[in-house]
């Protein structure tokens, strides 16, 4: 990694870089998407948890969440819990709009990042991470502190 990349990476929790042709200076897209108040409930290895957080878009343009990935669970997907006819359902959501100058709250009983069959035991004070990918090309790493509520 080049020196400027190391400096940048150490300063930012979210990193958005577009590296131009090798003989030109890199283009750094302004960071407009940030994550706050990320948390997840404890889970035994092989069990499941969900990531909850506030996703803020400070940019003047809307963006769309198009993917989520993590190395910490067998399956990591964007999901929404819904209640219909006295039943709870959980549905995968492929894309989620993030309006300009607005925020989206991922919360219990609503939108969340589902992590099914986590690969290690998650206990209180651990951190669990996932990467969100947006249609703009931005990527945001969610680092969620593990706590009961």
């Amino acid at each position: 990694m080049k020196t400027w990349q190391k400096i940048f990476a150490s300063c930012c929790s979210v990193l958005v870089l577009t590296v131009a042709a090798c003989d030109r200076a890199p283009v750094v897209t302004p960071v407009t998407l940030t994550v706050h108040n990320a948390w997840a409930r404890p889970a035994d290895s092989g069990s499941s948890t969900a990531l909850y957080f506030i996703l803020a878009n400070s940019g003047h343009g809307a963006d769309t969440l198009v993917g989520v990935a993590s190395t910490e669970a067998e399956v990591t997907e964007l999901h929404v819990s819904t209640q219909r006819g006295g039943m709870m359902h959980m549905s995968q959501v492929r894309t989620l709009p993030v309006p300009a100058e607005d925020s989206v709250t991922f919360r219990p009983l609503g939108a969340h990042v589902m992590m099914m069959r986590v690969l290690r035991r998650l206990t209180v004070a651990d951190t669990v991470a996932a990467t969100l990918t947006f249609s703009s090309g931005q990527q945001v790493v969610v680092r969620a502190g593990v706590r009961p509520n």
Partner: protein, 178 residues
């Protein structure tokens, strides 16, 4: 004129079941081989939730709220039983269900059973539960009842509580049922 509602207390937050029938049978073998029978808990208020241990959102939210409500009950908590029943018998053994429930509170009871036992339970309680999403592997989700069922001290099914009920409200209501 007497003021209206003068003697009325705060309303219950749960959905009252009009003709409170005796709770349907709930008999399952716990992880330690002991038989759990809801009928044996007459005299206690019993909360029942049908979920599954791979549930990442709704079940842990409900059981966390239960745990907070139980703490709020303090000394009265001994008179309330909190029972989590897995409706995912393909993946959840009685031991897994118990370990899962106890993650939230050591006093919680976690139960599962054979496919046949859970099917009978679903019929008796008039509830549905079925796998959804990608069921080819082991990482599927399960649609399950949204509500917490509350059985009164008389053994009758009294109230349903929505997921997301505030734990302090639940605790207040449980105190009234004691």
């Amino acid at each position: 004129m007497l003021p209206l509602f003068a003697s009325c207390g705060e309303p219950m937050r749960g959905i009252a079941i009009g003709d409170a029938e005796p709770a349907p049978p709930l008999q399952l073998t716990a992880f330690d081989g002991a038989r759990f029978d809801i009928a044996a808990h007459k005299g206690s208020v019993v909360l029942v939730y049908f979920g599954y241990t791979h549930c990442p959102d709704v079940c842990p939210t409900t059981l966390s709220d239960w745990a907070k409500a139980r703490r709020a009950l303090e000394d009265d908590s001994a008179k309330v039983k909190f029972v989590f029943v897995s409706v995912d018998p393909e993946r959840d053994t009685p031991e897994l269900a118990q370990v899962y429930a106890r993650q939230f509170d050591r006093a919680f009871i976690g139960l599962s059973g054979t496919v046949e036992e859970i099917e009978s339970l679903k019929t008796a309680w008039n509830i549905a539960a079925y796998p959804e999403g990608d069921t080819r592997g082991r990482a599927y989700s399960v649609a399950h009842p949204a509500y917490t069922f509350v059985v009164g001290r008389d053994g009758r099914l009294r109230y349903l509580y929505e997921p997301g009920v505030r734990s302090e409200d639940l605790a207040k209501d449980l105190r009234k049922l004691l």
